[in-house]
């Protein structure tokens, strides 16, 4: 769905099939999506890409996505975690970050992403 005002979401997810699902859910709701499946790719996109929001898987196989989260925080880009371990599996430094437990309903993802957006607007 081409949309001139579409917001761009960075999705970091290391499982191919899950990445496809997240991308489809967001694209179907009118977002532009950039996907990173490996830590290095996630880090460089978090540093350089023009994104408004991000959805981060926590466990990336080669490590976790906390370094990506730190960059996003520094840049003031709101993000949420989507993880199979749920909020309890998060390191204490990230306890306040919105978290979705996998698997989730597509509507839950969209709702949380929209909330990120609202909080971002108020922050400005």
């Amino acid at each position: 769905m081409p949309n001139a005002r579409a917001q761009r979401v960075l999705v970091v997810e290391d499982e191919s099939l899950v990445a496809m699902l997240v991308e489809d859910i967001l694209v179907d709701s009118g977002y532009d999506v950039i996907v990173a499946m490996r830590l290095e790719a996630g880090l460089s996109l978090a540093r350089e890409a023009d994104v408004h929001l991000a959805v981060l898987d926590v466990n990336l196989g080669e490590g976790n996505s906390y370094p990506i989260a730190d960059i996003l925080r520094e840049r003031g880009i709101p993000f949420l975690f989507a993880t199979g371990y749920g909020a309890l599996g998060l390191s204490s430094a990230y306890q306040g970050i919105p978290t979705l437990q996998k698997p989730y309903h597509p509507d839950q993802l969209i709702k949380q992403v929209m909330q990120l957006n609202t909080s971002a607007l108020f922050a400005h």
Partner: protein, 343 residues
């Protein structure tokens, strides 16, 4: 240092050691055991000396099944003539008749002329370790069981949810993908979620498409769990496409799968032979996206698909993920245990 003083020191070392230490003479009789050895076996040194028989017949005379264990067959006994630091695990018999697992290290003692005159044996109680291993085994079994049941449950939910659809094809597509995933999990389950054989994974994924229609050529290789699961899905999509549009859609078509591995660099080729003329647009959608985009991104793979006269040729070049980065199930077991209690 006087002889008396050094003997006192040695005594202090032995009495305070937490590992059991036995000193055996050339007849395999126990000449000395420290306090930890007395606690472990239930016998005092004087009791053992009074028995005047090989130590084996006091603390190691029964096998775990209860049958008699002759001295000649004892692996600790084998340390006596030659080997230094013979190690292993055995099951000992306590004074009260109970059996307990131990880890031992046995080394010969030599005199000035290098003649073997006895054996020194260290023994450690490994009941706790064995119990922990057993708990881990039970948890892995439980996890395997749940994964399988969950996949079967998902299959049922899909069947129930789509039963009113007149078009059966989407459900068929779903079932065959779910079963491909399940087959990969079966291989991983059989290997305790540590690794999977590349050859076995290929064999198992192509099996539903008619094994005689494939030729396989390449060395076997251990794959990490994550690579195993994604590769299974990739191979499945290639096979599905071949049977719908490619070489497996005609009677004498086949697929030649060849691969080579050098320094963890995998070169893999899927070559369809004797197929109908295929054109690129036929190959789109889920399979194409999974292979060309996701698989390539997930593993930094180079994927090349070309549509030749005889069918699809898919070439993959990828560095196989190393096992040092792999998620270890064991390290997460306490957490899984917690989750299990909550649900």
């Amino acid at each position: 240092m006087s002889l008396l003083e050094s003997e006192r020191q040695l005594q202090a070392v032995l009495s305070n050691a937490t590992v059991a230490i036995f000193l055996m003479d050339e007849r395999q009789h126990c000449a000395y055991m420290n306090r930890a050895a007395e606690e472990l076996t239930g016998f005092t040194l004087s009791e053992v000396l009074a028995r005047d028989c090989p130590l084996h017949d006091v603390i190691h005379h029964k096998r775990p099944d209860g049958s008699h264990f002759p001295l000649e067959e004892c692996p600790i006994d084998r340390a006596f003539p030659t080997n230094d630091r013979e190690q292993g695990e055995e099951v000992f018999v306590h004074k009260d008749g109970s059996l307990y697992p131990v880890a031992f290290t046995a080394s010969p003692i030599r005199d000035k002329e290098a003649q073997v005159i006895g054996t020194i044996i260290e023994v450690r109680d490994i009941r706790e370790e064995k119990a922990a291993q057993e708990r881990q085994r039970l948890l892995i079994n439980e996890l395997n069981h749940r994964v399988k049941n969950t996949l079967a449950t998902v299959q049922s939910i899909a069947a129930q949810s789509f039963r009113t659809l007149s078009d059966r094809e989407p459900l068929e597509v779903f079932n065959s993908r779910l079963l491909a995933l399940s087959r990969a999990h079966t291989i991983l389950t059989d290997e305790n979620w540590e690794s999977a054989s590349l050859l076995l994974l290929i064999e198992s994924t192509i099996e539903p498409f008619g094994r005689p229609r494939f030729t396989l050529k390449g060395p076997d290789q251990r794959l990490t769990t994550k690579f195993t699961v994604t590769l299974a899905m990739v191979l499945h999509e290639l096979a599905v496409n071949a049977s719908k549009h490619g070489s497996l859609s005609v009677s004498d078509g086949r697929v030649d799968i060849t691969w080579s591995i050098e320094d963890a660099q995998l070169h893999f080729e899927w070559v369809e032979v004797n197929g109908p003329k295929v054109s690129p647009p036929q190959y789109a959608g889920f399979g194409s996206r999974l292979i060309r985009r996701q698989f390539a991104m997930e593993f930094n793979a180079e994927v090349n698909m070309s549509f030749k006269q005889a069918g699809l040729v898919c070439m993959v070049d990828v560095r196989l993920p190393s096992f040092t980065d792999q998620f270890h199930l064991g390290q997460y077991l306490p957490a899984l245990n917690e989750v299990g209690r909550d649900t």
